[in-house]
């Protein structure tokens, strides 16, 4: 709030003036009734007329002040609430991008999107509308109570009878309501998560004809949202009905006892009318405080979820004095390394590996053997549980994260793109790169020609999934991005998608250009890429079981030999069965 201090002070001042202006009309009305209207029985004098003009004039001025102050106050509160929410949303978004991958493994993306949009929205509603009303109405309440006591302390005590009930009832209501809202928001975020999951994988749903099943899941969660909504609104209806009943009982008492006081001539008509006007003004904020409960419950439940993310520490943070490495040589050492995604379940065990700068390592193993985990550890998406992982003899935990990631390039099996142009996607890691550098990188990645062949060239818009690009094109754009990034250590999670033999050749050439002179870890599926590797590391069940060159491993006739034999067998089956990309598979499957 500190940056907005002046405006906060201004808002409090406006609220104060507004309160005074709001208190004015009933007081003026009292004088119009008692000093002007009641006095007309003795004839209309000029003094009475003048008093009437003055009081009506004062009434108009006060109303005008109130009007102007209300507009300024609302605008100011909108600005302040909006700015605070923007700051919170930014902090939330920033923290989301800094959180460790483990955080995302356990959460649904749709639910997190809901935190950025819906939960911050409900916080904003409270800050924009709730807080200013709270301030204004608190001031108004105090002012009204003072004036009521001054007018008739007996009547005031009578009308205050229902208030303790309202406060205690409101408190219990608040506790019940926050529970109901928690359930409601949990169900909402579940529904949003489900819907976004379906939309992201709409192709999969259609392919397996699962539309009905998805609809059924949606309907069931949608019903859950309805019952959550209904339960919370039921509470709201009960509370407000009760509050209205209590306020009207207060009014009945005032009319009865106030009327009696007028008859006894202990209270003037103007004073009673003023009292009743103030009473309406008193009950209005009191009723509103009830609403404030539901408002704040919603906001509190939203805030709880927003601050859960903001307060989650980014687990892979830099040390207090991280080591800066501006240019790595690219020497990587795993020493007795252990790691697991869940406590006690190691997916990598006793890993010892020394990789020389510029060496290309092919990581080989069955699915789930730990290849991708090794790559994730190198990027420091996770920290080791035991052992040491070092780069250029500096433990990876001690290297400044920015330096580390700036010098590691990743070409993933599944190419990721952001919505934008091809040029923007290529220069994603190097935003300052000129179009000439982008073109140079694309040429090296054998991507330039096909990009120029598109009507909008480098300005071609591609969606989040590289919409409009074929599998081979996506891979080459990814390689161009990695070339432009110019990393010292490269992780190549090679794609398995089938491409025609010409594209395969272009991709292999591009990969050849990319890996030259960089320490490379290739999670290879194609044997053609493995043959390029200086050394192959065979993983099985999280352990390194074989290391050596392609020829050495073939001679050993161990795990790698069996994998090659299996692949050779499946290629033969494909050839006999007339697989779609026979030529590609034969060329890839060659083992000397």
């Amino acid at each position: 709030m500190f940056p907005f201090k002046t405006r906060v002070v201004l808002m409090v001042a406006i609220s104060l003036l507004y309160t005074l202006a709001e208190l004015g009309p009933p007081y003026i009305m009292k004088h119009i009734i008692d000093d002007v209207l009641v006095n007309t029985g003795e004839g209309i004098t000029e003094d009475i007329l003048m008093l009437l003009y003055l009081l009506v004039g004062a009434f108009a001025v006060v109303r005008l002040m109130s009007y102007v102050l209300e507009i300024f106050g609302q605008r100011l509160s909108m600005w302040l609430g909006g700015r605070v929410t923007v700051a919170i949303r930014e902090e939330l978004y920033e923290n989301l991008s800094r959180l460790e991958m483990k955080f995302y493994n356990k959460r649904k993306i749709g639910a997190l999107i809901s935190r950025v949009s819906n939960d911050t929205e409900s916080m904003m509603n409270f800050l924009v509308d709730g807080v200013p009303y709270l301030v204004t109405n608190m001031l108004l309440l105090i002012g009204i109570l003072v004036l009521l006591f001054l007018t008739s302390w007996k009547l005031t005590l009578l009308v205050l009878i229902p208030i303790p009930l309202m406060v205690v009832g409101g408190w219990f209501f608040w506790i019940r309501l926050i529970r109901a809202y928690r359930t409601k928001y949990y169900r909402w975020s579940k529904l949003i998560g489900l819907a976004s999951e379906m939309l992201y994988s709409v192709r999969l749903v259609k392919t397996f004809v699962q539309e009905k099943r998805e609809m059924h899941r949606f309907s069931s969660d949608n019903e859950g949202v309805f019952s959550g909504d209904y339960e919370s609104e039921k509470e709201v209806a009960l509370f407000f009905g009760t509050v209205r009943m209590l306020t009207s009982s207060g009014l009945i008492l005032v009319w009865y006892f106030g009327g009696a006081e007028i008859i006894d001539e202990t209270l003037s008509l103007g004073a009673l009318m003023m009292f009743i006007s103030y009473l309406w003004m008193l009950y209005e904020p009191l009723q509103w405080f009830g609403e404030l409960n539901s408002w704040s419950s919603r906001a509190m439940s939203g805030a709880e979820k927003v601050f859960e993310v903001i307060d989650t520490p980014a687990e892979t943070e830099d040390l207090a004095t991280p080591i800066t490495i501006t240019r790595m040589k690219g020497e990587v050492k795993f020493q007795n390394a252990f790691f697991g995604y869940n406590v006690g379940e190691f997916v990598l065990k006793e890993i010892d590996l020394h990789v020389k700068p510029g060496e290309m390592i092919g990581l080989v193993g069955k699915s789930g053997s730990g290849k991708t985990t090794m790559a994730n550890l190198l990027c420091r998406f996770y920290d080791l549980d035991e052992g040491i992982l070092s780069i250029d003899d500096v433990p990876i935990r001690e290297i400044r994260l920015e330096d580390l990631r700036r010098q590691i390039g990743v070409v993933l099996q599944e190419s990721f793109f952001f919505s934008g142009t091809i040029a923007e996607n290529i220069r994603y890691s190097t935003p300052d790169a000129t179009i000439e550098q982008v073109i140079a990188a694309s040429r090296t990645a054998n991507a330039h020609d096909f990009i120029c062949g598109k009507p909008d060239g480098y300005d071609t818009q591609i969606g989040e999934n590289g919409k409009g690009l074929s599998g081979g094109e996506k891979q080459r754009v990814s390689i161009a991005r990695a070339i432009l990034h110019n990393p010292r250590i490269l992780i190549l999670d090679e794609a398995t998608s089938s491409v025609d033999s010409h594209t395969e050749k272009l991709i292999q050439e591009a990969i050849g250009n990319l890996v030259k002179g960089r320490t490379t870890f290739a999670i290879a599926h194609r044997l053609s890429t493995l043959r390029r590797a200086d050394r192959l590391v065979v993983l099985d069940d999280g352990k390194i079981v074989e290391t050596g060159t392609h020829t050495e491993l073939m001679k050993m006739k161990g795990h790698f030999f069996r994998m090659v034999e299996t692949q050779r067998g499946s290629n033969a089956v494909m050839a006999v069965g007339g697989g779609k990309n026979d030529s590609t598979r034969h060329s890839n499957g060659h083992v000397s």
Binding site: A440, R443, D459
Partner: protein, 179 residues
């Protein structure tokens, strides 16, 4: 045709296993029509490409630079950083071809812009008459400068507003609200 690349990325130029084939540059080529409707390219009067196709590498962000000449196999044979580097005749031929290929209707007035489900429906008056077209979200509108707007509709048709501030107030308001 096997020189190393020379633009930018000096670090990349060393040790590349399969150096990309570098295209010819503007000062090495001559572009002309022969026969009349075919664009031909000759390299230092030594060899010819009988049919080439000039394309913009970056028609939106750099509409006046970076022209690529593709051969019949859609492979780049020449790359022109700036048309000014060409001789007068070559420049004229390429400019004609680019104008024909990247035909852009100039928008004179925007009647209406309506958004629905991430798609925007435009109703405009262009230098070729009234047009209605559809664009997908904001993806296909591009501000070339603060005032110059380039639009590509879902069918690949191109539209251009050279300076939106020079349009009528109604059109300005619609553009400022929707683009």
């Amino acid at each position: 045709m096997t020189k190393e690349i020379t633009i930018g990325m000096s670090e990349l130029e060393t040790g590349i296993e399969n150096p990309p084939i570098e295209p010819y540059l503007a000062h090495e080529i001559r572009v002309y029509r022969a026969p009349r409707n075919t664009v031909r390219m000759t390299v230092r009067n030594e060899r010819s490409y009988i049919r080439v196709r000039p394309v913009h590498a970056s028609p939106m962000a750099h509409p006046d630079n970076y022209i690529s000449l593709l051969d019949i196999k859609n492979e780049e044979v020449a790359f022109i950083k700036d048309l000014k580097d060409l001789d007068k005749e070559s420049r004229r031929v390429i400019e004609e071809e680019l104008t024909r290929r990247y035909l852009k209707a100039k928008i004179k007035r925007v009647h209406s812009i309506q958004m629905e489900f991430g798609v925007t429906y435009w109703d405009v008056l262009t230098d070729r008459g009234d047009r209605e077209f559809v664009i997908r979200g904001h993806e296909n509108t591009h501000w070339a400068t603060d005032k110059r707007l380039l639009i590509t509709d879902v069918d690949g048709n191109r539209f251009e507003i050279m300076d939106y501030t020079q349009l009528d107030p109604h059109s300005i308001r619609l553009i400022e609200t929707n683009v």
